[in-house]
């Protein structure tokens, strides 16, 4: 199958049941998207499909042909960090940062739909992303900061 990832065509030889996450990580070495649960319950594997935050661990790769897939590796433009990445760095959000790529992808998707989210909007949009280290207050702050640029 041919997948359009970060504006590049990738032809992959994946089994019919393989999830997009496994294809990204194991076939294409795009390991920024993380495995946390494999059941859509933690958000670590979040990527954008046609701009929408999607759990790649429960998305069959075979259903993704013809879609625009963006992963954390595709956020930088011309060597410059995406404003959301910069905002997360400025707020010095993370502890172990294993949740970071999923959090950032979910935040990018939220801000594309809603450029000025309230705290409540952020909580509802991010509810599916777990940070086991408990950096939630700092993530909320980072998203608010990103929304002002």
């Amino acid at each position: 199958m041919v997948l359009n990832i970060n504006n590049k065509q990738h032809s992959v030889n994946a089994g019919p049941d393989e999830s997009l996450l496994m294809v990204l990580r194991n076939h294409l070495d795009l390991t920024g998207s993380k495995y946390g649960c494999g059941e859509g319950a933690c958000g670590a594997c979040t990527v954008l499909i046609d701009g929408k935050a999607t759990r790649s661990c429960i998305t069959p790769a075979s259903s993704m042909e013809g879609k625009e897939i963006t992963t954390i590796e595709g956020l930088e433009k011309n060597g410059e960090l995406h404003p959301v990445q910069t905002a997360f760095l400025n707020a010095d959000v993370f502890q172990c940062a294993y949740c970071a790529p999923g959090m950032i992808m979910s935040a990018v998707s939220l801000l594309q739909k809603n450029s000025n989210p309230s705290d409540q909007d952020i909580v509802s949009a991010m509810q599916g992303n777990i940070c086991r280290c408990g950096t939630y207050p700092r993530i909320i702050k980072a998203i608010q900061e990103a929304s002002t640029v």
Binding site: T31, G36, E39, A41, C42, C96, Y98, Q127, G134, P137
Partner: protein
Amino acid sequence: MKAEKPDIAPEQYELFEKPSHQFKMNRRSFFEILGSGIAVTFTLTTGLSKELISPVPEDQVAAWIHVNETGQVTVYTGKAEVGQNIRTSLAQIVAEEFPVSMDKIDMVMGDTALTPYDRGTFGSRSIPYMGPQLRKAAATAREILMDMAAAKWKIERRQLFMENGVIKNTTADQSINIGELTKGEKLLKSINDKVNIKRVDEWKVAGTSIKKVRGESFVTGKHKFVSDMKLPGMLYGKVLRAPSFGASLISVDAKAAKDMNGVTVVHEGDFIGVAAPDLATASKAIKAIKAEWKTTPQPSRTEIFDYIRKHSDKNGSDEGSAGDAANAFTNAEVKIEKTFTIDYIAHAPLEPRAGLAQWANNKLTVWTGTQRPFGVQEDLAEVFNMPKENIRVIQPDTGSGYGGKHTGEAGIEAARLAKAATMPVKIVWTREEEFTWAYFRPAGVIDIKASAGKDGKLTSWEFHNHNSGGSGIETPYEVTNKKIQFHGMDSPLRQGSYRGLAATANVFARECIMNDLARELKQDPLEFRLKNLREQRMKDVLQAAAQKFGWNKKPDANHGYGIACGNEKGSYVATCAEVSIDSSNAIPKLLRVVVAFECGAIINPEHLKNQIQGAVIQGLGGALFERIDFKDGKILNASFSKYRVPRFSDTPELDVVMLNRKDIPSVGAGETPILGIAPAVRNAIDHATGRKMYGLPLDMTT
């Protein structure tokens, strides 16, 4: 579990002592690895605490700091970065004493071939023990370079100062980059134990909020966690898991798996695993293995507390006794006798266990996310019956641990498969495996008898913990008659360390009883605590939290306040919580939390705040809803959809007060801040409703 094999021995009851080991590197091989420059090392003769590092024979050294010919500083420490941002705070400490910009400092951590032996990263020990050593090593390196510059320019040493990697002569327009000084040198020096180090009030880098080192590699997804790593020809491994705890293997038929293309099957004792060129094939192969297991009866969650009481050591170990607690209790004016129950909970680090192993020329390299790389090296030496020197364990920055990654199971499994397959093998545990086969915070039963006089002074304190462990079991309150005991047992589920260890259980029970005694006496719970506490530092955090919280204001109708405090490992926490009760269904809701914390001189305020916030939020899980459910030796909720952890919407309004005691040496902060939240919430519910709960998690749904 009793029948645990030695290669995956769990830690029963917290920290254990391992024999000390030596870091074998002589001067020549040292500079072969590092290149020329100067290095400051620890050796036995420097006389720092022997408990921390193994004795090093005189001809061997343990490297600490190396300055190369470009002025780049490399620091070697066996500590592990698992999200506590220790990479940043230790680098700050070095930069404080060795004035170079932070980006000139590279921290090599958790690599058994490159760093000195270290027992492990746990118990909040990195800052109080590793910090002072690195500080002295950095200061020694600075002094050596200053001496070299003084000799070069033939001037007095005191006319020089160092700034931003450059040594300057204050009396002339003369300066030299430290890299030029070290050029061609191969100077190996010991830490000078008497070296001048900066006073805390002189700190310029330490004490400030330097951002997470290598932060960009995480927000771009570039950092390679072990689960992300790949080697040429690498195979993917899977392990066949027993159907339940306490099951043993009777027979195996692995023919179908063996026949699959490129699949290697390993069967040794109860271990059955496969390695295959891709994950899908590995999963298919493991499913194709037919195994018969013999199970043994196992307790279920519904009966676990009876089980613990029945099986725990009747005599118990004495953890602090004085006077005659029984007699004082009998004759007391106000008394309470209660039993608390504590469920097993899981650490559930977001990165599950992962290991990558490679054999070459009878040498083994294992990459794994562990808090004890040297411990895993020892485990591997035992499993493969080979000298430790031929085993290298490398721990890249890891997706958290919270005390839950003291072991190296995935690395050991990968090494077994890699040996048989003669190819590198990676194993990443599934979430279900992590929830089932990692280890848990122990369940426990706690019996307390406590009494006080009408004057509000404690008169007796009897405290028995069954199975949780001994951390935090001592009481910080003054009482002349006390009996404190820990009753151990063999846990039916695999158990081990947790953030704050057993103190999450012991402090909870103690602080609930302190609340209940105060209420019984009709005294303010804060005043009651202050009256019975000895240590000023504990009183200080209590007062700081209470003030910020507005403890003296009356809560609104249907609202309640709770307070609790605790100390562990030289740091102090106090937590206030406010809950409201929805009058329609009487379910309590947590509204806001104030936590005050003190851990000596603060090294990085923002990162400290992050640790405190994170600990409170993680603690909320254990306080309100985390609980491992199990039946007949099977875990029933081994997934994030069944095992609820705190999410965005669970985060209360959270205020953090940090007391900066510049006069007290810094200690760690990863653990203690978790202690106050569960009892504070429980006591707030009592205040709002009069309902007293005696178990963790608190059941707020009824």
